[in-house]
């Protein structure tokens, strides 16, 4: 698990801000759920795991498969293929319980996208949206009141497998092995992502895939570095400190780093991604030898004033602004943040370069952490069991990949009404932006693609940046495995250890406070989580 994810903290804050209640991580947080939220018996998984069949109806400009990265497109394909010939719906309403991260859409009567969507689905779709930060609370109450929609996004609650067994349809007969081929676009979802949808050896959910795109890396403002004659490249931790020094100018209120680069520095020490295997056991990355060295470097960065002074007190949004306006030319963020930066950097000369982590002692390349394979799962309510094939067909429709007509419609609506073509690329207009927000991408989605029409050449830049670091990236051996203790306590444990990290970095506690904190983490539940995950992992062999 990533121990210093600003986004995670903020998310919890917002959830808490709403009211004292259940909160957790919904949405795009690419870690933090740690090892939770997935099937706990990987052995049966391999037998029941849906067969993977790559969709090759659309040729990418840059194919990413061999590097374990997404395909990249410079342009939206000119004559999109029609992926689905028959509308999946059965004419009866489909109710959906999910969350949203965007403003709600206009109501059906005023929403031409929604009307057209219903037509193409072949059933009137009723979406019950909830702001993502409130979703866990809403989900728990809706479960208690037995009010789940036919299709629902699984919230973060304890005893997830038991809850699903009680409330959701077992999809195994429909999706395991070759059965999934009936739903070719679900079969196109990456194999690893399915870990999150398999519980107790049964498939209960369709995953929303992410993976490499949600890996964290160090962004730098290529233009600013260049203006100072610096290169977006560091060879050792000392080199990195030098770079930060050169980019900091207190008179101009400029600080090299928008936030503490915890993960980047950990990458320099080859700290494992959450967990590492030790025979049959799992060892937490918190116990890695390099951690104290990592903290020493971070402490130094903070003390020297290379990290923005408001890094710990501002909002997550602020770090993006600092990078966009150049007041912090370095920021640690996920690859998926790229488009946001392209949209918010106001300087026309601004450019993004990724700095790959080196080994701390200069002996080679460091290793980044691979993002979680899935960010959520969608299940089908037991009450809708008789319509399960229709509903899977609906999810299949929502998973049609980039380059198809369905994808174009789903994300961009109708040409002339919701989007216009700029150099052959669809660009949403205001009407389109407000009408397409039915929370579709959290019900089911295609594998991620790199598509950055904002700026010519960006797709290739990002593709190459990912090609440079992702193939060697460390994956989390426990990703997708379910641990009850983790589901209940991971957030609390993570927050506690984050707090100690923050205290040490900001000099409120000595580095010697780390070891006892890790010990406490272990005894408070960390050991139990390791055990449960190891058990799940072991049974997978």
């Amino acid at each position: 698990m990533n121990v210093n994810d600003a986004r995670l903290g903020r998310r919890a804050v917002l959830a808490g801000a709403a009211a004292l209640g259940l909160a957790g991580t919904v949405g795009c947080s690419n870690n933090g759920r740690g090892a939770s939220g997935a099937g706990n018996d990987a052995a049966t998984k391999t037998k029941i795991r849906p067969a993977y069949e790559r969709y090759d109806g659309v040729k990418p400009d840059l194919a990413g498969a061999e590097y374990k990265i997404p395909d990249a497109f410079n342009k939206y394909p000119a004559n999109p293929v029609q992926a689905i010939t028959q509308a999946p719906g059965d004419g009866k309403p489909i109710t959906v319980t999910t969350y949203t991260n965007t403003p709600i859409p206009p109501k059906l009567e005023q929403n031409t996208f929604w009307q057209e969507f219903n037509k193409r689905v072949g059933s009137p779709v009723q979406v019950n949206l909830t702001p993502s930060v409130d979703y866990d609370k809403k989900f728990a109450t809706v479960v208690a009141g037995d009010q789940l929609g036919d299709v629902f996004t699984v919230g973060n609650v304890p005893q997830t497998p038991q809850m699903l067994a009680a409330k959701a349809v077992d999809l195994t007969p429909h999706l395991s092995g070759e059965n999934i081929k009936k739903y070719p676009y679900l079969a196109n979802l990456p194999e690893l992502a399915w870990n999150s949808g398999i519980f107790d050896g049964k498939i209960y959910g369709v995953p929303i895939p992410r993976g490499a795109i949600s890996s964290q890396v160090m962004y730098s403002r290529g233009d600013i570095l260049e203006a100072q004659g610096l290169k977006a490249e560091v060879k050792s931790s000392d080199d990195f400190l030098e770079l930060c020094k050169a980019l900091t100018n207190k008179k101009l209120n400029r600080f090299a780093l928008a936030t503490a680069p915890t993960q980047f520095v950990r990458n320099m020490f080859d700290v494992p991604n959450g967990w590492s295997k030790d025979g049959d056991k799992l060892v937490s990355s918190l116990e890695h030898d390099g951690q104290e060295e990592v903290l020493k470097i971070l402490q130094q960065l903070w003390k020297s004033g290379y990290i923005h002074p408001d890094a710990y007190s501002g909002q997550n949004l602020d770090m993006k602004t600092r990078f966009a306006n150049g007041s912090s030319p370095l920021v640690q963020d996920t690859f998926s943040g790229w488009p946001t930066y392209l949209q918010t950097m106001t300087d026309p000369k601004a450019s993004i370069s990724i700095i790959a982590p080196p080994k701390h002692d200069g002996s080679g390349k460091g290793t980044i952490w691979l993002g979680a394979p899935a960010i959520g799962v969608t299940a089908i309510s037991k009450k809708a069991e008789s319509r399960v094939e229709t509903l899977l067909g609906y999810l299949n429709f929502l998973a049609t990949p980039f380059g198809t007509q369905e994808y174009l419609f789903r994300k961009f609506g109708l040409p002339g009404v919701h989007h216009r073509l700029v150099d052959g690329n669809p660009v949403l207009n205001a009407k389109g932006f407000s009408e397409v927000q039915l929370g579709l991408m959290y019900q089911a989605d295609a594998p991620w693609t790199i598509f950055l029409p904002e700026h010519a050449g960006s797709a290739e830049t990002q593709f190459n940046a990912m090609k440079g670091v992702v193939p060697t990236a460390l994956d989390n051996p426990a990703a997708g495995l379910y641990s009850e203790t983790s589901n209940r306590k991971n957030k609390q444990l993570t927050d506690a250890i984050n707090q100690v990290t923050d205290d040490i970095v900001q000099g409120r506690k000595p580095i010697s406070a780390w070891a006892p904190a890790v010990k406490k983490w272990k005894s408070d539940g960390g050991d139990k989580i390791a055990e449960e995950l190891a058990q799940a992992l072991k049974s997978s062999r």
Binding site: L20, M163, F255, D310, Y312, S313, D502
Partner: protein
Amino acid sequence: MGEKRSLGARLRRDYPVLLLAVPGLLILLAFQYYPLWGNIIAFQDYQPYLGVGKSLWSGFQNFSVIFNGDGEFLNAVKNTLILTLIQTVIVFPAPIVVALVLHSLLSNKLRQFVQTIIYLPHFMSWVIVVAIFQQVLGGTGMINNWLRSHGYSPMHIIGNVEAFRALLTSQVLWKDTGWATILFLAVLSQIDRSLYEASAVDGAGRWRQTWHVTLPGLKPIIILLLILKLGDSLTVGFEQIILQQQAVGVDASDVLDTYVYNNGILGGNWGVAAAVGLVKSAVALALVLSANKIAHRLGEEGVYRG
């Protein structure tokens, strides 16, 4: 009305009063009292998908968060009480002072103008209040940016452990002082003007009038609010604090609500939330009842006479 009457006679006499109470009471019974049964999940490992009927009983395990006496919990209680004390001493009287000043203004227009302005911050959410303070006092806030670009060393306010309580207090003062004057102004407006005239005839100046007429007029509401606030003394600024916790660390900032939030609620432990809620309510009830009794002894109305 002290004379003894039969129940039936009293009912016959009082039923119009009871009738007036019925609609409001029904709402309280339906939406406040009836759902209170749900608090039995304090003794369960409650799971929404199982419901109260099928969730497992866990005895007092949910209460262990409160009664295991670990350092972090005691620290949170300590911080809570200190903040409550500060807020009672500084934040509570502030709107009274402002209300007195506003009340003494001669021009209605001016008073209404000032009132309208000072209510504004109440409508800002904590996220925005915290952001505004950040923009002004933060490490790269207006003040520090100016200091740094003129060669002075910046002031360390936000993120400074020592300044944290002062920061919280000033945020609360800023946000809610104006709004809190409303109730006091309403009370002041109902003080019988003839009392002032009478005291003026007796030769009282403005200060003496304030002391002998205005403040006694405010006394019942001040005592009422203090008693009710006492019931809230274990609750301080959850949202405000959790938004700023990362900057100063748990030691300085953890209060009861944030502690419970971090230790139970985040994991979907509904039982823990209910358990803590029950204990807090019981403490609040005890505090309010005893404070009311004391107020009563001192000859005040308090919340109620009993």
